[in-house]
């Protein structure tokens, strides 16, 4: 057995050693991230069979939890960890095609992956804060690394909001520590009934704000369109495919495992609906396609949070499965969209809808890729998005929220409206033809193929998602597997 802690240790080791490698040869650093993510992927995949019911416990410092920090990996975290590595791997392959002089970019990228993997694997609350900070600081570094006006502005906004958000998250952790005397997630979850209600409520509000910034909930998400728009396309992919998914993981872990059901369910429920509607309406009016995609991303995150809160209202493994399906669809679909949008504009960073006219017709492959992303996101059949959207609607129906269902369908129409507008615009008239390398195209094709193949044959994904959801639901199993049958 290969200890999953190596995922973190080796990634760190490689990230730290990039400057040393750079001194050996200037060509080495770009190959480190693919190598690291590949090794991580291998480690995680070999561990799949070892993760049984409940969580797998990996201690540090030779001490059992809750004394020392530990990693706690159940199927849910394993799924997210693998997702992160896969997307990270694809992106790092994508970066191979780009000329980039600064090796520090690769370090930041690798640390970003590390932060995300750490968050999904850790079993300690404060440790998750540390990894969250690694994730956030590296992400606003990456956002600002575009170094033009937009990138800097986006990065600054993200930094400010992220800083305040994570401070409040920290305060939430401290409040829980003060009332339980421990920082271990499983231990806190076990001691949860002993915490007075008002403390629970207050800390959950603090967590809501801290995580709400990451998962782009309505009043806390104002940074998101700016950061997405300002960042380079690959970074936007990373933001939407890795970073926001990590936020979702954290939300699920904290609100479901630790609190045992969303503590402020109703707040999150209404916020999520508002997020979805506001984001989609804002996207409707958008002329800049990238910002439109950003709003759509925010909207999708709203849907995800909505599903989580629906789950909290009505514990049903199907609802959680839906959340995972939505997350997977969004990770791959939106990633594909951002990447192909960049190529469709010829990397001019000019995303006005008028400038995209005919680009899809002139570059049929890119047009196909972009269209695949769009169709999957809006949930057209034969794409994976169809299953996630249908499952979403089924779970809302199961929760007996028919008015919400009607509302969602209406908003889907709005979503379709702006997406169809972009698609139609891509294929009208004559556009400019762009040269594009083999590596980017093949990376994007991988994204697209995964959407189509699993759209036609969703069974394996369903199965995986269901297992992951089931393990997230088994709260008592999680606790007992970490704390040892207490």
């Amino acid at each position: 057995m290969v200890s999953p802690i190596l995922v973190i240790a080796l990634t760190l080791f490689l990230a730290f050693s990039i400057p040393l490698l750079h001194m050996l040869s200037k060509k080495l650093p770009p190959f480190v991230p693919p190598l690291a993510t590949l090794i991580n992927l291998w480690i995680l995949i070999t561990n799949i069979k070892h993760v049984g019911e409940g969580a797998m416990l990996i201690t540090t410092a030779g001490l059992k939890p809750p004394i020392a920090i530990n990693l706690a990996i159940d199927k849910f975290s394993l799924l997210f960890a693998i997702l992160i590595q896969v997307i990270g791997f694809l992106l790092s392959i994508y970066y191979l095609s780009q000329e980039r002089k600064d090796m520090r970019f690769y370090m930041l990228f690798l640390l970003n992956i590390l932060g995300a993997s750490g968050i999904v694997m850790t079993g300690d609350l404060f440790n998750s804060f540390v990894f969250l900070e690694i994730l956030e600081i590296s992400s606003f570094g990456l956002v600002a690394s575009g170094k033009d006006k937009k990138a800097l502005e986006g990065g600054f906004k993200y930094m400010m909001i992220g800083a305040i958000g994570s401070s409040l998250y920290l305060l939430g952790i401290i409040v829980l520590y003060l009332s339980t005397g421990t920082l271990n997630m499983a231990h806190i979850a076990k001691l949860m009934p002993s915490i007075p209600d008002s403390v629970k409520l207050f800390s959950s509000i603090l967590f809501l704000i801290g995580i709400g910034v990451e998962v782009e909930l309505f009043p806390l998400n104002a940074w998101a369109p700016d950061a997405y728009q300002g960042a380079m396309d690959e970074i936007s992919t990373q933001l939407s495919s890795i970073i926001s998914k990590t936020g979702i993981y954290l939300a699920a872990r904290i609100f479901l495992t630790i609190y045992g059901g969303l503590y402020a369910t109703n707040i999150i429920f209404y916020l999520a609906i508002t997020t979805f509607i506001v984001a989609e309406l804002a996207a409707l009016m958008q002329k800049n396609v990238k910002r439109m995609l950003a709003y759509s991303s925010v909207g999708q995150m709203g849907l995800l949070m909505l599903i989580l809160s629906v789950f909290a209202k009505r514990g049903d493994v199907f609802v959680l499965t839906t959340a995972i399906l939505l997350a997977l669809n969004h990770a791959f679909g939106k990633g594909l969209l951002f990447l192909s949008l960049g190529s469709l504009t010829g990397n001019t960073r000019n995303y006005d809808i008028e400038d995209l006219k005919g680009a899809g017709r002139a570059n049929p492959v890119l047009g196909f890729l972009f269209a695949t992303g769009v169709l999957s996101i809006i949930g057209m059949p034969i794409f994976f998005g169809f299953w996630s959207k249908i499952s979403l609607l089924i779970s809302i129906m199961k929760a007996n929220l028919m008015y919400l269902l009607a509302l969602l369908l209406l908003v889907f129409l709005v979503e379709l409206y702006y997406y169809a507008n972009v698609i139609v615009n891509l294929f009208k008239g004559e556009g400019k033809k762009y040269r594009i390398g083999v590596i980017p195209v093949s990376v994007m094709l991988l994204f697209a193929l995964s959407l189509i193949v699993f759209g036609l044959w969703p069974h394996p994904v369903f199965k995986i998602a269901q297992n992951a959801a089931a393990s997230l639901m088994e709260r008592s199993m999680y606790i007992s597997s970490i704390l040892g049958g207490m």
Binding site: V130, K147, M160
Partner: protein, 117 residues
């Protein structure tokens, strides 16, 4: 005067002040400082949570020691981490501000209006 009022009060006062500065400030550095002040207040608050009446620092200079009344060491360890993280965040923020100054030619936050459409 109540010791709680002094420690908690001053920490929370710093937090409030930090937030107020960050919301109303115009200069980017000022805003960053506001966030830093907020972080400092938070750190102070966390450390003051760790205090236990009559406790001393958790360092045992004589060994083998008798278990004596010490303050909670965990918040101190956490604050150490939080401070470092705050430093890192501030460094990153300053770097961004320096580049903004270079590219926009101003540090006035109201002039940062590139991202609208």
């Amino acid at each position: 005067m109540d010791a709680g009022l002094i420690f908690y009060g001053s920490a929370i006062f710093l937090m409030v002040m930090g937030v107020f500065i960050a919301i109303t400030g115009r200069h980017l550095i000022k805003i960053l400082l506001g966030i830093d002040v907020f972080d400092t207040g938070l750190n102070l608050l966390i450390v003051s949570f760790g205090y236990i009446n009559g406790g001393t620092a958790p360092i045992f200079s004589k060994y083998p020691n008798i278990f004596k009344n010490v303050v909670d060491p965990v918040p101190q360890a956490l604050v150490l981490t939080a401070i470092v993280i705050g430093v890192a965040e501030m460094a990153m923020g300053l770097a961004i501000v320096m580049q903004i100054k270079e590219k926009f030619g101003t540090c006035n936050i109201a002039k940062l209006k590139e991202l609208k459409w």
